[in-house]
Symmetry: C2
Subunit: 142 residues, 2 copies
């Protein structure tokens, strides 16, 4: 089984309904890279702190820490470095952490560019009314 914590992070990463491709890259042994992980790294880069990043993303510090730890164990090189002596903001991405973000965002962009016409054909085939989420959820749970 793939690690549930990272997959949940993928699901909750989008603040509003997603539009376009949602991509995870799987490596055949359960390890993968997805949008939740990448968004967490981007937020750590902005906040220079795992704690602040966790708050901004609405997740517990423990969960953010476990995610960062899991990403780090999946790859040869660490993705963050922490400067324990400093007060406050003390976590930075490593060059590999930066590269991981860059590669994932490139994968999203290249995929979107390569599939634009197929996605537009799907979009044009949608029913005009849109779905009725309540009805669907009721039926699914009923």
């Amino acid at each position: 089984m793939a690690p549930q914590n990272i997959e949940e992070a993928d699901e909750t990463a989008a603040p509003r309904p997603r539009d376009g491709l949602f991509i995870r890259v799987y490596f055949g042994d359960g390890r993968h890279v997805g949008p939740g992980m990448i968004e967490l790294l981007e937020t750590i880069r902005a906040e220079r702190s795992i704690l602040s990043a966790a708050r901004r993303m609405g997740m517990s510090y423990r969960r953010a820490w476990l995610l960062v730890d899991e990403i780090g164990r999946n790859f040869r090189e660490p993705v963050v470095e922490t400067h324990p002596g400093r007060r406050g903001h003390g976590t930075d991405l490593t060059p590999f952490g930066e590269r991981l973000i860059e590669l994932y965002r490139e994968i999203e962009q290249h995929s979107a560019a390569a599939t634009r016409s197929a996605v537009e054909e799907l979009r044009a085939a949608l029913s005009p009314a849109g779905r009725a989420p309540e009805t669907t959820r009721e039926k699914a749970e009923g």
Copy 2:
């Protein structure tokens, strides 16, 4: 929120650990197309029966039916047609159902082709030992 039933179908669609891109196409209003839905349509095409397809995929008839119903309501045109007079195999894909499969598989293939070098760079950066799923799950749940 996106419909949970279809997203669960995506997660459980792979019999072994996935390798390569996992793609869902979102349309900005919660509707989306993903691999679980497409695999169900392909299995219905092969089995010519929603019941047989559900069995082969290890899901309940009710769940398979709800998925097919949801796909049908998402788009202008139906994806299956049922011939109620016939005994046994009586469900076929519509031309639109066939096109839906074709477009989704094309999106997967074009994305894979457009991202090969980035994915290979990620793969080369993986730690050699591979992950230890038990440890990870323990930590995530602990």
